[in-house]
Symmetry: C2
Subunit: 232 residues, 2 copies
Amino acid sequence: MRKSDIQTVRKLALFSDMSDECFETMLQGAFLQRFPSAVVLIGEGEPADFLHIVVDGCVELYATTNGRESTMAVVRPVATFILAAVLADAPYLMAARTIESSQILMIPAENLRDAMKNDAELTRAVVNELANSYRSVVKTLKNHKLRSGVERLANYLVSTHENQGANGRIYLPVEKKLLASMLGMTPENLSRAFATLKPYGVRVKGADIEISLIDDLRVLAKPNELIDNPRS
Amino acid sequence: MRKSDIQTVRKLALFSDMSDECFETMLQGAFLQRFPSAVVLIGEGEPADFLHIVVDGCVELYATTNGRESTMAVVRPVATFILAAVLADAPYLMAARTIESSQILMIPAENLRDAMKNDAELTRAVVNELANSYRSVVKTLKNHKLRSGVERLANYLVSTHENQGANGRIYLPVEKKLLASMLGMTPENLSRAFATLKPYGVRVKGADIEISLIDDLRVLAKPNELIDNPRS
DNA sequence: CGACGATTTGAATAGGATCAATGGGAGTGG
DNA sequence: CCACTCCCATTGATCCTATTCAAATCGTCG
């Protein structure tokens, strides 16, 4: 690993408070590697040999069964994925693939577990990250069990609108096909959901979306702090 | 708290390896209390003041938004709930209520967090519990995003059949209304799903279910280790 | 330019929800 | 102990949502 890369990693919230010594030991045998788009990084059911961290780019977590496939989450820098599998020393429940050219840091699972034994600050940060990951999945599950497809889309648009400056337009950061899978619907259904939102000021031009009646959209979406707010 | 209760708690996997000193300090200000059925223990959005542990009985975790309600999980002894909220010092994402007369241990959130600073074994156990909770929610989400209602029911029956001795019959441990909500459907739809499974050897008499063609049922259900196995 | 995949639209179908009505038990109070 | 009540559960009818299959269009990339 190059020195500049190490510095990038060192600044991650997960590692910023741990001791230099533990940090360096932990990185023995770690990789920071760049992958092109569409590379499968880990497969469902494989043993959790490495903790992965998205340093740059974008990674999709997805799951399959019985020929079906669904997107579980999209991970953007800087965040870990499959932390729980590493800590439980259990097989991955989700597969992961790059959806852009991405830089991934891979830390041997055992290194992380050993480092946690020796560094309380690291452990504290790991617990924090894990607790927030848990809460994130719970929110996703609530989103799916309590809302219809159109409502999920409307809330996605409302949140994204705020994250992107709340200036009446959105740029979709992912393909519609992937967005559909994130929202738990087919691409066809997503198209129709967008059409349904037209009376609420939603106009689609490729990845550019115009949000002209945000208040109306919010009335339909009824955003909920405990589902849509990534913090809290 | 009575001495016998303390001994019960002491044996929980979460606490069994921690030091006596930390354990006793942690229990300062803790309650072990019995509640009747249908008592709301915590509400969605409330601050996480206590870690709750189901020592006896049964607790439903549920979520609401916009007038709708859905069961997120059912917690049986001996297990914690809302551990993540306590660790993240964040509001509860799910509400909890007893569905039987239940004995609940409540430990002040700050006590737990302090104890973790002083006791590495406790921390290790908490990380383990949290990682497994995370994996459990991920499995639930996969179940919902990748399967139809009938398939979810079929898989529930297959798992329950195994857990209850695989002898051709099941006793439903929860009301059908609650089961329907767990499985993400209406009670009416659950009734119809049971009817759909009749050709697969599923016969319903109240809470007693006869499973006469388990192999056929498994062919329909297509159980998946990474969704249906609580371990792994 | 041409091929391929993404997106959209239409039509038909399936899956699930809602509304309404009825049957069944469990628990309560007389 | 029995009648009553309440709520759970089932069934029918209908409506709405979402998926599937098909086909046309659009864009992008080699």
